[in-house]
Amino acid sequence: MITPINIIELTLTLFVFSQLLYKDTILYRISTLTVLYVAVGNAGVYAIKSLQKTAFIPIMNGNVSLIIPIVLGLLLFTTLIPGKSWMSRPSYGMLLAIGTGIMLRSSLLLQLKTNILYVLQPIIGGKFTPLDNLIGLIIVVSMIVYFLFTVKSRDSPPLSYLSFIGRYAIMIGLGTSFAVATITRLSWLGGRVDWILKLFGLI
């Protein structure tokens, strides 16, 4: 059964398709802006609900220390008041410090750990075939050499060969990323086609 929500969904989908199948229209812009504003509104509402769960309820239950982050959060809004924006600095400082701390602790660890573990895999065994492992190792080493800008010998053999392989490895990697992104977009397009066909009972 087609519901009013389905009709809104179908209308917005067709508005977006109008750009693809006809030309850039006001309908297309209306639909994209609607999605954007709904996303912003949705994010605001759920951020407040999240605060309720993680801060307001615990504060009411006696965990008064959580008032400090709430005050710091409110101070961020002082950037909107001319002459009082200095009051937001401690909050931005905290955000920056926590962000950097998390990044150093986890993101850096993940990137290093993943890549080191991946490169240290034995050629025979591991998750891939020996040929895949060998190619992976060569690509990692050659790309490191390609980015060794401070070493003069990079431009003469044998490092220049590795640098050459590294350059092509980057190109293949970027090409693959583009191809995979295209497949993803095609899946999304097909997903809408599938939804429309199901809505009208064609499948």
Binding site: N42, S50, P58, M103, S177, L186, G191, I203
Partner: protein, 286 residues
């Protein structure tokens, strides 16, 4: 005098809208008449299946419902396949989200699983729970891992955690089955789970991503940080094949296969037009 347009120039100037019409008609045709393309099982998908098979009966696993409306059509079928496997095994699960756009998608997603939940005797609050959205991305994940009981005071509907038996005694990551967790959804926030829950606190996850993000995460699986990856519709089709329940992912995987073939034809024709026009202009200069 008007210049005569060559075949190659005409080929290179085909209206892009015609290409989109052909693509959409082909996709619709395949969705109505599935071809049944072969679906070879990749190791990363088989590892995901095996990891869920290994979960002990009394274990509780964490599921990150970080779905995104944009990519919903791609990973919803894969996520459903994985969740059907989890439910068929009777595994208890606790859901959280750190991606705000995932929140409105939770209900429609779970509605598709309702029949499976009922068939396997799942009771909300005892066997599964939705703890809802938490802001803070990486900070929220650190909170889940270290101070769960302080972070999660209620479920998504406001029921106090103390009234939800499944949450009893959960204080952090060690109270979950750390060898398997599941990440459903977008890669936008996926890195926070990988870097914090997985790399920092040792909670291994199965990643159900869209194709684009899934390929980028292969190194996590190869390095042993993730238990497995189910990338996009292709991964979903493979998973449906493993659990022997064919659904949307299998049909839509056919559609993606045909779309890719059409894309390759477009690329070929584009190259023919480009190099043909180039050689023609070179000839005319001589």
């Amino acid at each position: 005098m008007k210049k005569q347009t060559s075949f190659y120039e005409k080929l290179g100037k085909i209206d892009r809208r015609i290409l989109f019409y052909i693509m959409i008609i082909a996709q619709a045709y395949v969705l109505i008449n599935p071809i049944g393309l072969p679906v070879p099982i990749e190791d990363m998908v088989r590892d995901s299946y095996n990891a869920i098979e290994e979960v002990p009966e009394d274990a509780i696993i964490l599921i990150a419902f970080d779905m995104d409306p944009g990519a919903w059509s791609e990973y919803a079928p894969s996520s459903l396949a994985v969740m059907r496997h989890v439910i068929s095994r009777g595994i208890k699960f606790v859901g959280v989200a750190i991606h705000v756009e995932a929140v409105p998608l939770y209900e429609p997603f779970m509605a598709k699983l309702q029949a499976d939940l009922d068939a396997n005797g799942y009771v909300y609050g005892e066997d599964y729970v939705n703890c809802g959205f938490f802001s803070g991305l990486g900070s929220a994940v650190i909170g889940f891992a270290t101070k769960w009981d302080e972070m999660v005071t209620t479920d998504a509907y406001g029921t106090p955690a103390s009234e939800l038996p499944i949450l009893e005694g959960i204080e952090g990551i060690d109270d979950f089955y750390k060898e398997v967790g599941i990440r459903l959804g977008t890669g936008i926030v996926g890195g926070h789970w990988q870097s914090t829950w997985a790399a920092t606190y040792g909670g291994k996850m199965i990643i159900v991503y869209c194709t684009k993000c899934g390929v980028g995460s292969t190194a996590y699986w190869a390095a042993g940080i993730s238990r497995g990856i189910v990338p996009g519709l292709s991964g979903g089709a493979q998973y449906e094949s493993l659990i022997n329940r064919y659904g949307d992912a299998t049909v839509q995987n056919d559609m993606v296969g045909i779309s890719v073939i059409i894309c390759l034809i477009y690329i070929f024709l584009g190259n023919v037009a480009h190099y043909g026009a180039k050689s023609e202009s070179r000839r005319s200069l001589q």
